[in-house]
């Protein structure tokens, strides 16, 4: 990449894999468990967080020298809240059904620990361009896990992807269902999301031994 220096590239690629907000820092778990039963919801959630974190990081970074440190959390909250309201209204206007499924979870992006975490840990101490890259990197790292979990939960739990039946019709008994296959109801339940995230963590740490914590 000619556009980005090596250091800047790392800002994007690091949270994507070895410093993933969900699997390594174990942040933003609540939304990962709640909305990943459908792939579509996972994708929309990822894009929303991408927008909020990317723009939010830039805004906070621009204001970092004028925010009094005593009230910085309040300022951060106002920035996130503003951005989340924009996302919420856009969804209500253009994807009403989806905004109903996601329900409170769009609003709860405000409390997503990844966002406040990046503001505190990065945007307050770095310039806007680097903050932007950091925001994008972390949001993508978050989104990738959400989409992987959402993919498996929807495929195995409902036999569909993005609402389109891919394994056949469970009622008419076509496709795989003709051979006695059944949807796995456990996949739809939040505990399974936790187990899937756990499996991703397992795979990741056995591929990269450096990530295993000492006890």
């Amino acid at each position: 990449m000619g556009l980005l220096s090596k250091k800047d590239t790392k800002l994007i690629t690091d949270p994507f894999a070895d410093n993933n907000p969900i699997t390594i820092q174990v942040l933003g778990i609540c939304s990962a468990l709640a909305i990943t039963a459908e792939l579509k919801a996972s994708i929309v959630m990822s894009i929303s967080v991408l927008f909020v974190l990317g723009v939010g990081n830039v805004v906070i970074s621009l204001m970092r020298n004028i925010i009094p440190s005593k009230i910085r959390i309040i300022v951060q909250l106002i920035v996130v809240a503003t951005l989340v309201i924009i996302v919420d209204l856009v969804l209500k206007a253009f994807a009403y059904e989806l905004s109903k499924t996601l329900g409170a979870f769009i609003g709860l992006i405000i409390t997503n620990c990844i966002i406040m975490g990046r503001f505190e840990a990065f945007a307050l101490g770095n310039g806007p361009w680097r903050s932007f890259l950091d925001g994008i990197g972390n949001a993508v790292g978050y989104g990738v896990i959400l989409i992987i979990v959402g993919f498996f939960r929807e495929l195995l739990g409902a036999g569909t992807l993005l609402g389109i039946p891919v394994l056949g019709d469970p009622i008419e008994k076509t496709g795989l269902y003709a051979y006695g296959y059944e949807n796995n109801g456990f996949m739809i339940m939040p505990p399974m999301a936790l187990i899937l995230v756990g499996l991703i963590i397992w795979v990741q740490r056995s591929r990269n031994k450096a990530l295993i914590e000492e006890h």
């Binding site: 006695g180 059944e182 796995n184 109801g185 456990f186 996949m187 339940m189 187990i195």
Partner: protein, 405 residues
Amino acid sequence: MSLKARLHDLKEKYRGTKMAPAFNALHTFLYLPNEVTHGGTHIKAADDLKRTMNTVIMALIPCLIFGMLNAGYQHYAAVDNSLRLNPLANFFTLDNLWIGIIKVLPLVVVSYGVGLIIEFIFAVIKGHEVEEGYLVTGMLVPLIVPVDTPLWMLAVAVAFGVIIGKEVFGGTGMNILNPALTIRAFLFFAYPTWMSGDKVWVHAADPRVGKLGQGYIPDVISGETILGSYAQNLEPVYTNWDKFFGFIPGSVGETSTFLILLGAAFLIFTKIGSWRIIVSTFAGAAVMGLIFNAVVHAEIITESSKFFGLMNTDWWEHLMIGGLAFGAVYMATDPVTGSQTNKGKWIYGFLIGFISIMIRVFNPAYPEGVFLAILLMNVFAPTIDHYVVQGNVKRRLKRLNAKTA
């Protein structure tokens, strides 16, 4: 050279290689290992993990054989109700056994096959010996599922239970949850229509599996379990002796309280199972049953309530129906996931029985509350032990202080 000596030679030859654990597992399964303890061991005993596991399996064999016969008996009795008038005469028939062989044995084979393959793979990856832990789990699993459970579902559940329930924690002896019950819980939540309801308990009563025979109308008679009938405020058709000896529909091996009690006696006699846990589980269930009976007696709950049927069930009947006895004897006593201290065992068992009956009565969707209760108490067992040990430490400190003061 005898086969045994040959195997010993092979073992020496493959020592340290990747495949050694898998090979050693086969070897120790067939013969006693040729290694003896060196050094200053003070306590020598003949019982190792393998013997412990085999004792439990021996205690389970009567339940398995009974379950096979019962699979056929329930199948034919659902077609022809008159068979139930004289269960003894119609139970021990070859026809019944045949249904058991074609329906129950595949469950056993799949359970062992999938589970042991996973154990072997993990042993090879981790480079340790294959552990015997799955021997008992593999036998328990087919006994606690409905007879018509599709084999692929069982395979998926076993893979899940062994990997997530046991191997990720470090294998046999390290697991928090009972693997057999993890498998049952997975099946229950993943494929509820195959694990509950009124038809899955009798072979071919479910129209998805087959037809019971000529003139059979699926809605007329079915394999309604006793718990299911009570949950709907209906009077079940079975006598108390049927319930005690197990001529009732249910999961494959858990129907016969009589054989389970025999197994319990065997386990207690061989000192494999903890009598404290078994007794306290039954006691806990009886206490909860008595409380519910008292509530009904005081007319706080009347017949209009949806809880009436199960609450009005006599406390001693609760001990015979459903999986309570099986859970108390074979599941709760698992030494790995249960409490370790003697006082802790009393508390642990009592709460299992108590909570089982509570779940059974209050949530008719989960009439088999016992497996949830045991899993719950598995999680709490270390906490119970912790407080028992702390309590002991405190008491002794007090005594010491009183003496020295």
